[in-house]
């Protein structure tokens, strides 16, 4: 018992409450799926229950990884970044001649997260868009094969920005000075961002399934509707407003703005990755998460929401 209380005392009480809330939502989702199964025995809910099961795994791993200890959290997000880049590079067309250029791209990940660990903001913010931008081009020039040069370079830089630079912002939230957020420091901010982004995804989906009529992006993601987008937006706004005092230093008005940024940003990130999948003719970015598809399918919204939320809160509070 003392072990447990020692263990729990490492977490801020607000973060514990938030994690308790996440567990509550998952319990509710599990019960709903069980009731649906009993109510409609003929229908197949395999996909849905698989999805909920995967949510349990993802939520547990994420909550533990980002709260136990800062170093573990950074390694975890770096690993997430690695998985996302790997999925991206496995999905897009690459050239054999650029084998070693891709290796250099992967090498950027430990460096980027080292800058974050050192709390070297200036380097964190320019390393990918300036230095890696130049270095990868130079490496390609050194190989000397100019066929499809622009296409290869463009594809690679795009992947670096989305999977390393954007997602790295999740990690930088963790190293922001804890004085800036008395409610629970960096982990609380990250929990706020990730919970709202993921909840926004699910609620846009549920609102769309229930009331969806008018397509919002017919040629990119035909299942998305205005009803889903707006329903999800309203839900996320309400949650952002009520959770802000628990997890963030945001004022009331700022929390409404944060909710807007996360909901709209998340939607735009989602449809951007959808556009790429459509371009490449793939349904999912991978198959690592049963019921969800790949890692990028799950964190597509975060690729936009994370940097947008970060720079919003950084501007106002740090």
């Amino acid at each position: 018992m003392t072990y447990l209380s020692n263990f729990l005392s490492r977490f801020s009480p607000n973060v514990l409450w938030a994690m308790g809330g996440i567990v509550g939502i998952l319990v509710l989702a599990t019960i709903i799926v069980a009731i649906l199964k009993m109510a409609k025995p003929g229908k197949d809910f395999g996909e849905l229950s698989m999805r909920v099961r995967t949510w349990w795994v993802m939520a547990t791993v994420f909550c533990l990884a980002v709260t136990i200890n800062k170093r573990i959290s950074l390694v975890f997000i770096a690993f997430l970044s690695f998985l996302a880049l790997k999925e991206y590079l496995s999905m897009v067309p690459t050239r054999r001649a650029h084998h070693r250029v891709l290796f250099w791209a992967y090498l950027a990940i430990p460096f980027q997260f080292l800058w974050i660990g050192l709390e070297w903001y200036g380097m964190f913010i320019i390393f990918i868009p300036v230095y890696m931008f130049f270095i990868l081009n130079i490496r390609m020039v050194a190989i000397g094969d100019t066929e499809d040069f622009l296409r290869s370079a463009g594809t690679l830089h795009w992947g670096m920005m989305i999977t390393v630079f954007s997602l790295g912002h999740m990690a930088y939230l963790l190293v922001l000075p804890s004085a800036g957020n008395p409610a629970g420091g960096g982990p609380a901010l990250l929990l706020y961002l990730v919970f709202l982004t993921q909840f926004n995804d699910v609620s846009q989906y549920v609102w769309g399934k229930s009331f969806g009529k008018h397509k919002i992006t017919p040629s990119v993601s035909p299942n998305k509707t205005w009803e889903g987008f707006l329903g999800g937006f309203a839900t996320t706004l309400a949650l952002a407003f009520f959770l802000a005092p628990l997890l963030t230093p945001l004022t009331r008005w700022e929390s409404i703005l944060a909710g807007t940024i996360i909901s709209v940003g998340g939607f735009l990130g989602d449809v951007t990755i959808s556009a790429i999948k459509r371009d490449l003719g793939v349904k999912d970015t991978g198959a690592s998460l049963p019921g969800h598809g790949g890692i990028l399918d799950r964190i597509d919204s975060l690729t936009y929401a994370a940097p947008l939320f970060f720079h919003f809160i950084y501007y106002y509070h740090y």
Binding site: P93, T94, G286
Partner: protein, 215 residues
Amino acid sequence: MSAFLRLLFFLCIIRPIIMVILGLNIRRRELLPTQGPAVLAANHNSHLDTMVLITMMPLRLLRKVRPVAAADYFLRNGLLAWFSLSIIGIIPIRRKKADGAPDSDPLEPCYQALARGDILIFFPEGTRGEPESISGFKSGICKLGKRFPEMPVIPIFMHGLGKSLPKGEGILVPHFVDVFVGEPLRYEGKSEIFKEELEARMLGLAKEGDFPAWK
């Protein structure tokens, strides 16, 4: 002793590399054999192919899983020979020399292993060839089938390993690996028909992925 080293090598080094650095997306894993004799007939692009196939099989079958490999390449020096034979557990076969056929059937060690109930990893293309492309099958697979007509031959298509470690490259660049397991096939009728059927299945598996050409 070497059986223990072999277990340690696959458990502590190869599995983590294959599962974490690369990552497998396996379709129809349930079609893999649970006992020998059987042949896993896969396309061949990279030295990692063998490692992936061994990783996919449960550890309790590890001592039965034997990759068939060219003696002239893998036994070319003492250290490599020890590593190939004891740790990877290859069955070395002598490829035909340019100046003529060897005296006996080079697949003889394979027949013996199958008779013991081993599960062979066999690359019907004979060589790694160009990365991410399939070349025509050699006749070896037919000889194995003909000798053991009851034995299942499982076609397996892998994509991504040629990109991760192409022939002639020393640096591993992570890519997710797709592994498509096909329905088991048994030898019937004639060698040519068996070979064509197996090739057709392999191409069918390759088409499932709709992968862009890699060059």
